[in-house]
């Protein structure tokens, strides 16, 4: 079983991201379970959502305390919430930012991490460009597909078309695709340096 925890703020589509991740996994014939942390749903408040992916029925209903992957939609949470709590050693970390890990102040924490498992992607910028709104959730799913190689980009696109339609869907497909490519490029650079 692969467990993903998504951190963000109310209004950034954190819960929707987890739901779409589960739809993408379902599209690939896998079992998936997505659920929110059910906190107070206020714009700007820290929000957590979870997604489990497995090859058999998922019965477990506890929150994800030891994730295999983290998607951090808002880097300002890094010093407010214990986002790394329970993260498995060399678990995947995808952060929405245009800054470096050092600039974010997490370079020290991740310095011994497998560099192929840590990536940043400027998802908010990509969303503003492609969707016209600062919603980083969908491009981050594209980035997640690239870094984890757990899902195909096509499955993410199917999930987008399941959730949205018309221009919003088009914009999000473009955003996810761009983030996917950006992340792949960044991964290649990391591999070249390694």
């Amino acid at each position: 079983m692969f467990q993903v925890r998504i951190h963000g703020r109310g209004g950034q589509g954190v819960v929707t991201a987890a739901e779409m991740l589960s739809i993408a996994a379902f599209e690939e014939g896998r079992h998936a379970q997505a659920f929110p942390s059910f906190g107070s749903e206020r714009t700007g408040a820290p929000v957590v959502a979870f997604c489990r992916i497995a090859d058999k029925e998922i019965r477990l209903r506890e929150p994800i305390m030891e994730p295999d992957a983290l998607i951090i939609q808002d880097p300002t949470l890094l010093h407010q919430v214990d986002v790394f709590a329970g993260l498995k050693r060399d678990g995947y970390v995808l952060i929405n930012t245009g800054k470096t890990l050092e600039e974010l102040g997490v370079g020290e924490f991740l310095k011994d991490w497998n560099p192929a498992r840590v990536c940043t992607v400027p998802a908010t910028e990509i969303a503003i460009k492609c969707v016209g709104r600062p919603v980083p959730n969908v491009p981050l799913l594209g980035g997640f597909a690239a870094i984890s190689q757990l899902l195909k980009l096509e499955s993410v696109i199917k999930a987008i078309n399941d959730k949205f339609s018309g221009k919003v869907a088009e914009g999000n497909v473009a955003a996810a695709t761009e983030a996917y490519k950006t992340t792949l490029r960044a991964m290649k650079e990391v591999a070249a340096h390694a």
């Binding site: 819960v15 929150p63 709590a85």
Partner: protein
């Protein structure tokens, strides 16, 4: 058809497939997505011959449901928590009048202190209302139980609550197999009321009954409800023949055949318990599970049969009768009172406290080792409890309990669980 969708959405679709004629509801978390979903299906025309009525309160919702059901319409509503309590008088009336309304309860705690998260206090506060109560373990089961609930309720002329864990199920996206309209039509015949307000054949429903017959009316309600103990398994079998899967029934045992310890629970926590039990089985522990689907009527004889070979029974319940102890546990203990079985009551998950495998391992291990007390609370923070008790002993005006505890616990937004 297999689809990945939200629990609430799956239930809304299943309810629509049952062709309700009146749906009345008032929004309350975590139930709202369900009636919104049904409302959208009415508006889009996918659900035809259905009147969706927005009402001004939960009391009105149940009152409208009573009226429409008495007029012979297949009637559905949904609520949760304070909403269920607000309609309480009408809830008792619906069953007293013998009206087969189906209602989803998206289980949520009751205030004060106000709390939107999941436990079973709301449904269990209505356990004596005369409604049948079914508890779903998964979203698939929630969906299936709604289809069975219409069949069962209309056959017995009694209302049915389908209880599903708020947020944990209602807001969870998971895989469900959505039946076809043809399947549901083959299973659920059009509503043929046992009593109906019909101008062509006038009757009155709801007479005042004095001491001369009230006890007999109550006894008949009991006898009628007990018929569900035979109907439920039969309808589950028929359901399987049409839909191809096991769903419903009275209770389900899991790895319990040779179990010395059997854990009893209701609802979505059964999944986490089963995963824990699998791990303990792998380590050689003789432990199993009994999940209860039907809570009212309580299947006493079947519970006794399922538990009779156990040495100990651990009842883990998301409810608590303040000043007394467990509610489910009391029912279980009564069912097995003639047997030499130790029964432990564990209050768990109250107000949405996460129930983790780690805590369950420690709990079940303690029970096997004879270290468990007869009434305990899973992951109770004894420190803050003692601190408050000390405060109260020290000072008469020691401040509101809820506010004091929040200060003691500290900022929770930074924590994951």
């Amino acid at each position: 058809m297999l689809k990945q969708t939200e629990g609430s959405h799956a239930v809304a679709e299943a309810v629509a497939l049952c062709r309700p004629e009146v749906v009345c509801a008032y929004p309350i978390s975590p139930q709202t997505h369900i009636v919104e979903g049904v409302g959208e299906l009415v508006k889009s025309g996918e659900l035809r011959n259905c009147e969706f009525i927005n009402v001004e309160s939960e009391f009105a919702a149940m009152s409208v449901a009573i009226g429409s059901s008495a007029a012979g319409a297949r009637t559905y509503t949904a609520t949760a928590s304070q909403g269920l309590l607000f309609m309480a008088e009408a809830v008792f009336n619906a069953s007293g009048l013998g009206l087969p309304i189906v209602m989803t309860v998206a289980n949520r705690a009751i205030g004060a202190p106000i709390n939107i998260w999941n436990d079973h206090t709301d449904s269990l506060a209505m356990r004596d209302s005369g409604w049948l109560q079914l508890f779903a373990e998964t979203n698939q089961e929630a969906l299936d139980l709604h289809i069975q609930a219409f069949r069962l309720g209309e056959e017995l002329s009694l209302p049915v609550m389908v209880c599903m864990d708020g947020f944990i199920l209602t807001h969870a996206y998971e895989r469900v197999d959505m039946p076809t309209q043809a399947q549901v039509d083959a299973y659920l015949p059009p509503y043929s009321p046992r009593q109906v307000l019909d101008p062509a054949e006038p009757v009155s429903i709801g007479a005042m009954v004095g001491p001369e017959a009230f006890m007999e009316v109550r006894y008949l309600a009991h006898a009628k409800q007990r018929q569900a103990l035979e109907r439920m398994p039969a309808y589950a079998a028929e359901f399987k023949s049409i839909f191809g899967r096991d769903s419903g029934g009275l209770l389900h045992s899991y790895r319990a055949d040779d179990a010395e310890t059997i854990v009893v629970a209701m609802g979505s926590v059964l999944g986490t318990i089963k995963d824990t039990v699998d791990e303990m089985r792998a380590a050689g522990d003789k432990i199993g599970v009994m999940g209860l689907t039907l809570f009212r009527p309580f299947p006493s004889a079947q519970v006794r049969d399922a538990l009779q070979h156990a040495k100990r029974v651990v009842v883990l319940e998301k409810s608590f009768s303040i000043g007394a102890g467990g509610i489910l546990a009391t029912n279980v203990r009564t069912a097995i009172s003639a047997l030499p079985i130790d029964t432990y009551t564990v209050g768990a998950g109250l107000g949405g406290r996460a129930i983790t495998k780690r805590s369950l391992h420690a709990l079940f291990r303690g029970a096997i080792q004879g270290k468990l007390e007869f009434l305990t609370f899973l992951d109770l923070n004894r420190e803050v409890v003692d601190k408050q008790l000390a405060r109260e002993a020290q000072k008469r005006r020691s401040g509101p309990i809820a506010e004091n505890l929040l200060r003691d616990v500290g900022v929770v937004a930074a924590k994951i669980v």
